[in-house]
Protein backbone atom coordinates (compact mmCIF):
# COMPACT_ATOMS: atom_id res chain seq x y z
CA UNK A 1 0.00 0.00 0.00
CA UNK A 2 1.16 3.49 -0.76
CA UNK A 3 2.15 5.77 2.03
CA UNK A 4 -0.52 8.01 3.49
CA UNK A 5 -0.08 11.39 5.10
CA UNK A 6 -2.20 11.94 8.21
CA UNK A 7 -2.61 15.23 10.04
CA UNK A 8 -2.49 14.68 13.81
CA UNK A 9 -3.76 17.53 15.94
CA UNK A 10 -3.73 20.43 16.82
CA UNK A 11 -7.19 19.44 18.07
CA UNK A 12 -7.09 15.86 19.23
CA UNK A 13 -9.40 13.99 21.61
CA UNK A 14 -6.52 12.69 23.72
CA UNK A 15 -4.27 15.72 23.89
CA UNK A 16 -5.42 19.01 25.31
CA UNK A 17 -2.23 20.52 23.93
CA UNK A 18 -2.25 22.10 20.47
CA UNK A 19 0.58 20.13 18.88
CA UNK A 20 0.32 19.34 15.20
CA UNK A 21 2.19 16.43 13.68
CA UNK A 22 2.18 15.54 10.02
CA UNK A 23 2.48 11.76 10.13
CA UNK A 24 3.48 9.69 7.14
CA UNK A 25 2.11 6.21 7.70
CA UNK A 26 2.63 2.94 5.91
CA UNK A 27 -0.41 0.84 6.83
CA UNK A 28 -0.52 1.41 10.59
CA UNK A 29 3.18 2.06 11.06
CA UNK A 30 4.44 5.61 11.39
CA UNK A 31 7.34 6.29 9.05
CA UNK A 32 7.91 10.00 9.50
CA UNK A 33 6.67 12.75 11.79
CA UNK A 34 7.02 16.48 11.19
CA UNK A 35 5.91 18.80 13.98
CA UNK A 36 4.27 22.17 13.57
CA UNK A 37 4.12 24.57 16.46
CA UNK A 38 2.84 28.09 16.90
CA UNK A 39 -0.86 27.77 17.70
CA UNK A 40 -0.68 29.36 21.14
CA UNK A 41 2.15 31.85 20.81
CA UNK A 42 1.51 34.77 23.17
CA UNK A 43 4.63 36.88 22.80
CA UNK A 44 5.49 36.85 26.51
CA UNK A 45 9.20 37.47 25.90
CA UNK A 46 8.37 40.66 24.05
CA UNK A 47 6.44 41.90 27.10
CA UNK A 48 9.78 42.26 28.90
CA UNK A 49 10.23 45.45 26.88
CA UNK A 50 7.12 47.15 28.24
CA UNK A 51 6.80 45.71 31.76
CA UNK A 52 9.42 46.43 34.41
CA UNK A 53 11.48 43.63 35.94
CA UNK A 54 9.27 43.18 39.02
CA UNK A 55 6.06 43.01 36.98
CA UNK A 56 7.72 40.36 34.81
CA UNK A 57 7.49 37.91 37.74
CA UNK A 58 3.73 37.80 37.32
CA UNK A 59 4.13 37.38 33.59
CA UNK A 60 6.66 34.54 33.65
CA UNK A 61 4.45 32.75 36.17
CA UNK A 62 1.86 32.63 33.44
CA UNK A 63 4.15 30.98 30.90
CA UNK A 64 2.95 27.63 32.21
CA UNK A 65 -0.07 26.85 34.33
CA UNK A 66 1.44 23.77 35.94
CA UNK A 67 4.95 24.80 36.89
CA UNK A 68 4.30 28.49 37.44
CA UNK A 69 6.22 28.68 40.72
CA UNK A 70 9.32 27.22 39.10
CA UNK A 71 9.23 29.72 36.25
CA UNK A 72 9.10 32.56 38.75
CA UNK A 73 11.85 30.89 40.80
CA UNK A 74 14.11 30.63 37.78
CA UNK A 75 13.47 34.24 36.79
CA UNK A 76 13.97 35.55 40.34
CA UNK A 77 17.21 33.63 40.73
CA UNK A 78 18.46 35.21 37.52
CA UNK A 79 17.58 38.74 38.65
CA UNK A 80 19.03 38.03 42.13
CA UNK A 81 22.31 37.00 40.51
CA UNK A 82 22.36 40.25 38.53
CA UNK A 83 21.54 42.40 41.55
CA UNK A 84 23.83 40.38 43.84
CA UNK A 85 21.01 39.78 46.31
CA UNK A 86 21.56 37.23 49.05
CA UNK A 87 18.41 35.21 49.67
CA UNK A 88 17.70 34.52 53.37
CA UNK A 89 17.98 30.81 54.32
CA UNK A 90 14.34 30.48 55.36
CA UNK A 91 13.21 31.76 51.97
CA UNK A 92 15.41 29.15 50.27
CA UNK A 93 13.72 26.35 52.20
CA UNK A 94 10.24 27.74 51.56
CA UNK A 95 11.09 27.85 47.86
CA UNK A 96 12.01 24.16 48.01
CA UNK A 97 8.70 23.34 49.72
CA UNK A 98 6.60 25.07 47.08
CA UNK A 99 8.76 23.80 44.22
CA UNK A 100 8.36 20.21 45.38
CA UNK A 101 4.62 20.64 45.94
CA UNK A 102 4.43 21.79 42.34
CA UNK A 103 6.38 18.73 41.26
CA UNK A 104 3.99 16.42 43.10
CA UNK A 105 0.88 17.99 41.62
CA UNK A 106 2.37 18.12 38.12
CA UNK A 107 3.35 14.45 38.16
CA UNK A 108 -0.04 13.44 39.59
CA UNK A 109 -1.69 15.41 36.81
CA UNK A 110 0.50 13.70 34.24
CA UNK A 111 -0.14 10.21 35.63
CA UNK A 112 -3.87 10.93 35.43
CA UNK A 113 -3.66 12.23 31.87
CA UNK A 114 -1.53 9.28 30.88
CA UNK A 115 -4.05 6.82 32.34
CA UNK A 116 -6.76 8.68 30.43
CA UNK A 117 -4.72 8.41 27.21
CA UNK A 118 -4.85 4.64 27.24
CA UNK A 119 -8.48 4.63 28.27
CA UNK A 120 -8.17 3.94 32.00
CA UNK A 121 -10.61 6.61 33.15
CA UNK A 122 -11.10 5.52 36.74
CA UNK A 123 -7.36 5.62 37.36
CA UNK A 124 -7.32 9.12 35.89
CA UNK A 125 -9.97 10.20 38.41
CA UNK A 126 -8.13 8.56 41.30
CA UNK A 127 -4.91 10.43 40.53
CA UNK A 128 -6.71 13.71 40.20
CA UNK A 129 -8.55 13.11 43.44
CA UNK A 130 -5.19 12.80 45.20
CA UNK A 131 -3.90 15.86 43.38
CA UNK A 132 -6.73 17.90 44.86
CA UNK A 133 -5.12 17.58 48.30
CA UNK A 134 -1.96 19.26 47.00
CA UNK A 135 -4.03 21.97 45.34
CA UNK A 136 -5.69 22.61 48.70
CA UNK A 137 -2.27 22.92 50.34
CA UNK A 138 -1.27 25.47 47.71
CA UNK A 139 -4.45 27.46 48.17
CA UNK A 140 -4.16 27.44 51.95
CA UNK A 141 -0.49 28.49 51.96
CA UNK A 142 -0.46 31.00 49.13
CA UNK A 143 -4.05 32.01 48.43
CA UNK A 144 -4.28 30.67 44.89
CA UNK A 145 -4.59 27.13 43.65
CA UNK A 146 -2.29 27.07 40.64
CA UNK A 147 -0.43 30.33 40.08
CA UNK A 148 0.61 30.74 43.69
CA UNK A 149 2.74 33.83 43.11
CA UNK A 150 4.85 33.74 46.26
CA UNK A 151 8.24 34.52 44.72
CA UNK A 152 9.74 37.98 44.83
CA UNK A 153 13.22 39.11 43.87
CA UNK A 154 15.24 38.41 47.02
CA UNK A 155 13.06 35.77 48.65
CA UNK A 156 9.43 34.84 49.15
CA UNK A 157 6.52 36.93 50.36
CA UNK A 158 4.50 34.38 52.33
CA UNK A 159 5.43 32.36 55.37
CA UNK A 160 4.28 28.94 56.48
CA UNK A 161 3.61 28.86 60.23
CA UNK A 162 3.96 25.85 62.55
CA UNK A 163 0.26 25.00 62.48
CA UNK A 164 0.17 25.04 58.69
CA UNK A 165 3.39 23.00 58.56
CA UNK A 166 1.80 20.30 60.70
CA UNK A 167 -1.27 20.21 58.47
CA UNK A 168 0.87 20.00 55.30
CA UNK A 169 2.85 17.08 56.73
CA UNK A 170 -0.38 15.29 57.69
CA UNK A 171 -1.73 15.84 54.17
CA UNK A 172 1.48 14.48 52.67
CA UNK A 173 1.15 11.29 54.74
CA UNK A 174 -2.32 10.80 53.22
CA UNK A 175 -1.05 11.60 49.73
CA UNK A 176 1.83 9.14 50.09
CA UNK A 177 -0.50 6.40 51.31
CA UNK A 178 -2.98 6.95 48.50
CA UNK A 179 -0.28 7.16 45.82
CA UNK A 180 1.22 3.88 47.05
CA UNK A 181 -2.22 2.27 46.88
CA UNK A 182 -2.35 3.10 43.16
CA UNK A 183 1.18 1.82 42.56
CA UNK A 184 0.11 -1.74 41.72
CA UNK A 185 -2.54 -0.45 39.31
CA UNK A 186 -0.33 1.88 37.30
CA UNK A 187 2.91 -0.11 37.42
CA UNK A 188 1.99 -3.80 37.66
CA UNK A 189 -1.20 -3.98 35.62
CA UNK A 190 -1.14 -6.28 32.58
CA UNK A 191 -3.12 -3.88 30.38
CA UNK A 192 -0.99 -0.87 31.28
CA UNK A 193 2.20 -2.82 30.65
CA UNK A 194 0.91 -3.93 27.25
CA UNK A 195 0.54 -0.30 26.25
CA UNK A 196 3.84 0.97 27.69
CA UNK A 197 6.60 -1.63 27.98
CA UNK A 198 8.98 -1.50 25.02
CA UNK A 199 7.08 1.34 23.32
CA UNK A 200 8.99 4.42 22.27
CA UNK A 201 12.42 3.24 23.34
CA UNK A 202 15.11 5.88 23.27
CA UNK A 203 18.66 4.82 24.05
CA UNK A 204 20.97 6.52 26.53
CA UNK A 205 23.27 7.84 23.80
CA UNK A 206 20.42 9.08 21.64
CA UNK A 207 18.66 10.81 24.54
CA UNK A 208 21.88 12.63 25.43
CA UNK A 209 22.66 13.51 21.84
CA UNK A 210 19.19 14.92 21.17
CA UNK A 211 19.26 16.98 24.34
CA UNK A 212 16.35 15.39 26.20
CA UNK A 213 15.51 16.88 29.59
CA UNK A 214 13.93 15.81 32.84
CA UNK A 215 12.24 12.41 33.26
CA UNK A 216 12.60 11.71 29.52
CA UNK A 217 16.37 11.86 29.96
CA UNK A 218 16.51 10.15 33.35
CA UNK A 219 14.34 7.25 32.17
CA UNK A 220 17.05 6.52 29.59
CA UNK A 221 19.66 6.09 32.28
CA UNK A 222 21.33 9.48 32.60
CA UNK A 223 21.33 10.84 36.15
CA UNK A 224 21.09 14.51 35.28
CA UNK A 225 18.97 16.73 37.43
CA UNK A 226 19.32 20.50 37.65
CA UNK A 227 18.65 20.33 41.39
CA UNK A 228 22.16 18.89 41.68
CA UNK A 229 23.56 22.25 40.58
CA UNK A 230 22.58 23.46 44.02
CA UNK A 231 20.12 26.30 43.75
CA UNK A 232 17.75 27.24 46.60
CA UNK A 233 18.24 24.90 49.59
CA UNK A 234 18.90 21.75 47.57
CA UNK A 235 22.61 21.45 48.49
CA UNK A 236 21.60 20.91 52.13
CA UNK A 237 18.99 18.27 51.31
CA UNK A 238 19.68 14.63 50.70
CA UNK A 239 18.48 13.28 47.36
CA UNK A 240 19.68 11.36 44.35
CA UNK A 241 18.06 11.68 40.92
CA UNK A 242 15.50 8.99 40.09
CA UNK A 243 16.95 6.98 37.22
CA UNK A 244 15.48 4.21 35.08
CA UNK A 245 17.49 2.45 32.40
CA UNK A 246 15.00 1.02 29.89
CA UNK A 247 14.18 4.27 28.11
CA UNK A 248 10.66 3.17 27.12
CA UNK A 249 7.25 4.60 28.03
CA UNK A 250 7.05 2.35 31.07
CA UNK A 251 10.40 3.60 32.38
CA UNK A 252 9.24 7.19 32.05
CA UNK A 253 6.09 6.37 34.00
CA UNK A 254 8.09 4.66 36.77
CA UNK A 255 10.48 7.59 36.85
CA UNK A 256 7.70 10.12 37.36
CA UNK A 257 5.95 7.92 39.90
CA UNK A 258 9.10 7.61 41.99
CA UNK A 259 9.74 11.33 41.70
CA UNK A 260 6.43 11.96 43.50
CA UNK A 261 7.66 9.92 46.46
CA UNK A 262 11.03 11.66 46.30
CA UNK A 263 9.36 15.09 46.27
CA UNK A 264 7.28 14.17 49.34
CA UNK A 265 10.50 13.18 51.08
CA UNK A 266 12.16 16.47 50.08
CA UNK A 267 9.29 18.52 51.50
CA UNK A 268 9.64 16.65 54.80
CA UNK A 269 13.40 17.22 54.85
CA UNK A 270 12.93 20.90 54.04
CA UNK A 271 10.48 21.35 56.92
CA UNK A 272 12.77 19.46 59.30
CA UNK A 273 15.78 21.64 58.49
CA UNK A 274 13.99 24.96 57.98
CA UNK A 275 15.63 27.75 60.01
CA UNK A 276 13.80 30.75 61.44
CA UNK A 277 14.51 34.13 60.01
CA UNK A 278 13.64 36.72 57.44
CA UNK A 279 11.64 36.01 54.32
CA UNK A 280 13.08 38.41 51.79
CA UNK A 281 16.04 40.63 51.16
CA UNK A 282 15.13 43.87 49.44
CA UNK A 283 17.76 44.59 46.79
CA UNK A 284 18.43 48.17 45.81
CA UNK A 285 18.98 49.53 42.36
CA UNK A 286 18.29 47.98 39.00
CA UNK A 287 19.72 44.83 37.41
CA UNK A 288 22.49 45.04 34.86
CA UNK A 289 24.52 42.43 33.03
CA UNK A 290 23.55 39.08 31.58
CA UNK A 291 22.88 35.77 33.23
CA UNK A 292 21.68 32.25 32.49
CA UNK A 293 19.51 30.73 35.19
CA UNK A 294 18.52 27.06 35.27
CA UNK A 295 15.95 25.24 37.37
CA UNK A 296 14.63 21.68 37.35
CA UNK A 297 10.94 21.72 36.56
CA UNK A 298 8.67 18.67 36.76
CA UNK A 299 9.12 18.30 33.01
CA UNK A 300 12.85 18.92 32.94
CA UNK A 301 15.33 21.73 32.81
CA UNK A 302 14.14 25.28 32.18
CA UNK A 303 16.60 27.91 31.09
CA UNK A 304 16.24 31.66 31.39
CA UNK A 305 18.61 34.03 29.65
CA UNK A 306 18.28 37.53 31.04
CA UNK A 307 20.05 40.58 29.70
CA UNK A 308 19.64 43.82 31.58
CA UNK A 309 21.27 47.19 31.08
CA UNK A 310 20.67 48.95 34.39
CA UNK A 311 17.37 50.41 33.22
CA UNK A 312 13.85 49.68 34.37
CA UNK A 313 13.11 47.33 31.48
CA UNK A 314 15.06 44.25 30.50
CA UNK A 315 16.95 44.16 27.22
CA UNK A 316 16.17 40.58 26.45
CA UNK A 317 14.46 37.67 28.13
CA UNK A 318 14.77 34.25 26.55
CA UNK A 319 12.95 31.25 27.97
CA UNK A 320 13.76 27.71 26.91
CA UNK A 321 11.28 25.28 28.37
CA UNK A 322 11.75 21.51 28.87
CA UNK A 323 9.15 20.55 26.26
CA UNK A 324 11.14 22.41 23.62
CA UNK A 325 14.12 20.21 24.50
CA UNK A 326 11.98 17.06 24.49
CA UNK A 327 10.49 17.45 21.02
CA UNK A 328 13.57 16.10 19.14
CA UNK A 329 13.58 12.88 21.26
CA UNK A 330 9.83 12.56 20.56
CA UNK A 331 10.49 12.73 16.82
CA UNK A 332 13.12 10.03 17.30
CA UNK A 333 10.61 7.80 19.11
CA UNK A 334 7.75 8.12 16.64
CA UNK A 335 9.04 6.45 13.43
CA UNK A 336 8.36 2.74 13.62
CA UNK A 337 5.56 2.88 16.18
CA UNK A 338 1.90 2.03 15.68
CA UNK A 339 -0.46 4.85 14.84
CA UNK A 340 -2.48 3.98 17.96
CA UNK A 341 0.59 4.56 20.15
CA UNK A 342 1.24 8.09 18.88
CA UNK A 343 -0.87 9.86 21.58
CA UNK A 344 0.80 7.78 24.29
CA UNK A 345 4.26 8.60 23.01
CA UNK A 346 3.48 12.29 22.83
CA UNK A 347 2.21 12.17 26.40
CA UNK A 348 5.27 10.37 27.74
CA UNK A 349 7.40 13.47 27.20
CA UNK A 350 4.80 15.38 29.28
CA UNK A 351 4.27 18.04 26.62
CA UNK A 352 3.39 21.59 27.50
CA UNK A 353 3.00 23.33 24.18
CA UNK A 354 1.93 26.68 25.55
CA UNK A 355 5.19 26.67 27.57
CA UNK A 356 7.17 25.91 24.45
CA UNK A 357 5.59 28.68 22.44
CA UNK A 358 5.52 31.20 25.28
Amino acid sequence: MARTVLPFGPQHPVLPEPLHLTLTVDDEIVKEAIPKLGYVHRGLEKLAEIRDHTQMIQIVERVCGICSFLHALCYCQGIEALMKAEVPPRAKYLRVVWAELHRIHSHLLWLGLFADAFGFESLFMQFWRIRERIMDVQEATAGNRVIISTNVVGGVKKDIDKEMEKWILETLVKVEKEVNQLKTTILDDYTVKQRTVGIGVISKEKAYELGAAGPTLRASGIAQDMRQTGYAAYPELDFTPVVETDGDSYARTVCRFNEILQAIDLVRQAFAKMPEGELAFKPKGLPSGEVVSRVEQPRGEVLYYIKANGKKFLDRLRIRTPTFANIPPLLEMLPGCDLADVPILILTIDPCISCTER
Binding site: Q55, Q58, I59, E139, A140, G143, S149
Partner: protein
Protein backbone atom coordinates in the same frame (compact mmCIF):
# COMPACT_ATOMS: atom_id res chain seq x y z
CA UNK B 1 -9.29 -10.71 43.09
CA UNK B 2 -7.24 -8.03 44.81
CA UNK B 3 -9.89 -5.55 43.74
CA UNK B 4 -12.60 -7.05 45.97
CA UNK B 5 -11.33 -5.13 48.97
CA UNK B 6 -11.43 -1.84 47.07
CA UNK B 7 -14.91 -2.53 45.68
CA UNK B 8 -16.30 -3.33 49.13
CA UNK B 9 -14.61 -0.29 50.62
CA UNK B 10 -16.05 1.98 47.93
CA UNK B 11 -19.55 0.59 48.48
CA UNK B 12 -19.39 1.20 52.19
CA UNK B 13 -17.74 4.63 52.28
CA UNK B 14 -19.17 8.07 51.53
CA UNK B 15 -18.86 9.91 48.20
CA UNK B 16 -15.40 11.06 47.18
CA UNK B 17 -16.92 14.29 45.84
CA UNK B 18 -19.05 16.93 47.52
CA UNK B 19 -22.67 17.36 46.50
CA UNK B 20 -21.82 20.86 45.39
CA UNK B 21 -24.77 23.23 45.46
CA UNK B 22 -25.97 21.78 48.78
CA UNK B 23 -22.60 21.32 50.42
CA UNK B 24 -20.06 24.05 49.94
CA UNK B 25 -16.46 24.06 51.06
CA UNK B 26 -15.38 26.72 53.52
CA UNK B 27 -12.86 28.99 51.76
CA UNK B 28 -9.31 29.03 53.11
CA UNK B 29 -8.38 31.93 55.35
CA UNK B 30 -5.98 33.63 52.94
CA UNK B 31 -7.68 32.64 49.69
CA UNK B 32 -7.44 35.43 47.13
CA UNK B 33 -10.80 36.30 45.65
CA UNK B 34 -12.63 39.36 44.42
CA UNK B 35 -10.82 42.69 44.68
CA UNK B 36 -12.62 45.32 46.79
CA UNK B 37 -11.82 48.85 47.84
CA UNK B 38 -12.69 51.03 50.81
CA UNK B 39 -13.09 54.21 48.84
CA UNK B 40 -13.13 56.58 51.82
CA UNK B 41 -9.57 55.53 52.76
CA UNK B 42 -8.17 55.76 49.21
CA UNK B 43 -5.75 58.60 48.47
CA UNK B 44 -5.92 58.02 44.68
CA UNK B 45 -2.13 57.70 44.45
CA UNK B 46 -2.26 55.21 41.56
CA UNK B 47 0.35 52.76 42.88
CA UNK B 48 -2.08 49.87 42.33
CA UNK B 49 -2.53 50.96 38.73
CA UNK B 50 1.23 51.02 38.12
CA UNK B 51 1.94 47.68 39.77
CA UNK B 52 -0.94 45.68 38.26
CA UNK B 53 0.52 43.09 35.85
CA UNK B 54 -2.68 42.87 33.81
CA UNK B 55 -3.31 46.63 33.85
CA UNK B 56 -6.92 46.21 34.92
CA UNK B 57 -7.02 49.17 37.33
CA UNK B 58 -7.45 52.79 36.35
CA UNK B 59 -7.24 55.69 38.76
CA UNK B 60 -7.81 59.35 38.15
CA UNK B 61 -6.88 61.93 40.75
CA UNK B 62 -8.76 64.80 39.09
CA UNK B 63 -12.02 62.97 38.50
CA UNK B 64 -11.59 61.14 41.81
CA UNK B 65 -12.45 57.71 40.54
CA UNK B 66 -11.02 54.24 40.94
CA UNK B 67 -12.01 51.59 38.45
CA UNK B 68 -11.23 47.89 38.04
CA UNK B 69 -12.05 45.53 35.21
CA UNK B 70 -12.92 42.35 37.16
CA UNK B 71 -12.72 40.29 33.97
CA UNK B 72 -9.10 41.27 33.38
CA UNK B 73 -8.06 40.89 37.04
CA UNK B 74 -5.89 37.81 37.63
CA UNK B 75 -6.33 37.74 41.43
CA UNK B 76 -2.58 38.04 42.06
CA UNK B 77 -2.94 40.46 44.98
CA UNK B 78 -0.01 42.69 43.98
CA UNK B 79 -2.15 45.84 44.30
CA UNK B 80 -3.28 44.83 47.81
CA UNK B 81 0.35 44.46 48.90
CA UNK B 82 1.46 47.66 47.20
CA UNK B 83 -1.32 49.92 48.53
CA UNK B 84 0.28 52.48 50.90
CA UNK B 85 -2.93 53.12 52.90
CA UNK B 86 -4.24 49.51 52.84
CA UNK B 87 -7.59 50.45 51.37
CA UNK B 88 -7.64 47.48 48.99
CA UNK B 89 -8.55 44.01 50.13
CA UNK B 90 -9.53 40.68 48.62
CA UNK B 91 -12.59 38.67 49.54
CA UNK B 92 -12.04 34.95 49.99
CA UNK B 93 -14.42 34.02 47.15
CA UNK B 94 -14.23 34.69 43.44
CA UNK B 95 -16.76 36.88 41.70
CA UNK B 96 -19.80 34.93 40.58
CA UNK B 97 -20.07 34.33 36.82
CA UNK B 98 -21.82 37.02 34.80
CA UNK B 99 -23.46 37.12 31.38
CA UNK B 100 -22.00 40.45 30.31
CA UNK B 101 -18.75 42.28 30.97
CA UNK B 102 -18.97 45.20 33.33
CA UNK B 103 -16.53 47.50 35.09
CA UNK B 104 -16.45 48.14 38.82
CA UNK B 105 -16.46 51.89 39.21
CA UNK B 106 -16.05 53.90 42.40
CA UNK B 107 -16.13 57.67 42.74
CA UNK B 108 -14.78 59.28 45.87
CA UNK B 109 -17.21 61.65 47.54
CA UNK B 110 -15.76 64.99 48.59
CA UNK B 111 -14.43 64.57 52.10
CA UNK B 112 -16.04 66.91 54.67
CA UNK B 113 -13.46 69.35 55.96
Amino acid sequence: MFMTKTVLKNLLTKYATRLYPFQKIEPFKDAKGELKIEMEKCILCGVCKMRCPSQCISVDKKEKFWQVDPFACVYCGICVEACPVKCLYQESLYRPPADSKTMVFHVQEAKPE
